[in-house]
Amino acid sequence: TKLFTALGAALDERLERRERFVRASRDLTMAAKKAIFELQRLKSSLRRLRDTQTQEAWAKTEQTFDRLQGLLRGGILKELEATPAFSDTYWQYHQVFSPGVQEYVEALAFRHWFKDARILQFQATCEKLAPFPLEVSDYLLGLCDASGEVMRLAVQSSALGEQGVAFEASSFLDTLRRECTRISARTRRAWPPSMQQDLDRKLVTMGESLQKVQDVCYRLCL
């Protein structure tokens, strides 16, 4: 019984920590979704930061993203730092807080494309998240998710008569898909099966997004 009392205490501690990670991850997810929504609502014509009005709107999104980083630090990172073995705890609960980190990466990648029409690189993403250590898988899976947002923006913009976005989105998604497909030949060896299935599913979705954007481009060219 003494043995099981000790075991019970250890299990309970795990349960509670797990719960805290779940909550921190969920908070980050919600905030990241809101940040993406905010970007989607910006008139895409504002994208190239041409005037003061644009700069104001853009500055506002910057604040949103600062808050996101604050949430990461005050949530998942703080919880990790409270444990004696940072790295160990990181991996023990990685699956639990992954969704939040991936959604954050998705928001960052979408914002980066919004501004520069380019892929947000791994190194740059790591720097943005620092001192939180970003795992390659969270980067890739978050990046893949951004493709859906890019597609949505492209379709909406072309419906509003702004044609350039669709072509930019098409070439962006094409490049992204090629890179991700290429890398997926390597992840197959490096990742556990469930994670690989996740990536494969996202690649299929990305292919469909690309197809939709290419159809838009084709219609625009007629």
């Binding site: 072509f167 098409s170 070439s171 094409d174 090629r178 497909t181 290429r182 997926s184 030949a185 390597r186 197959r188 060896r189 197809q211 290419q214 159809d215 481009c217 084709y218 060219c221 007629l222």
Partner: protein
Amino acid sequence: SGFAAVATALEHEGQLRERLRLQRDELDVAVRSLETQLSRLHYEVDWSDAVAGARQQLRTIGSGFLELQSLVPEGMFYKYNDLWRQCSIHIVQSCLLIRFFETVHAPGPQFSDNLDQSQANDSVETCTAALVTKDEVLEMLDGEKAPTQPALRLDLEEYLLGLCGGIQELARLAANRVVLGDYATPRKLAFFCNQVYAGFRLLNFRNDSLRRSYDALKYAIQRLDSILYDLRI
């Protein structure tokens, strides 16, 4: 006892499968890189570079494929074939693309940036592009000359599934060539794909995955037809 021998045999099978899987993973990386190369066709007006580069990469793939298949004991091709089946299909698919663009005329002089003029020529248009044969795929992998006894092996079904995949890729390509302002290639693509599709209609499929791929072809052909129709209107 008897089980020790069985255990050893199973162990050997497991190890072989493991080695084949590793080799297949390497081949897979090369095949995906070949497809990346060929995806340049979607956004570069002049395709000669992309096709030449792909030709080059085929050699590496060929030797990797050879290495893989030489691990397989005599008579066990079909036992392990499912491991590299997807690779084979993707290779055939890429060979179809390469061969098509090598034999269709280069986009240079006869490139019609004048939509109306190309329309006028439309009813007499034919397409000289060749459909890659199963033997040609093996030649493209094995090296330049036609080998009397190819060291590589490709199942007939893999070849046909690869053709289906290639035609679908060409259908996707047609829309994107229009985006690039290339109106001539989509016509040729449509003509070519319709011809291949007509060939497929002659076949009697009792095989499920082949029949499904063939059914999917129909949509690719319809898409090509509607692109042709759009170009005409």
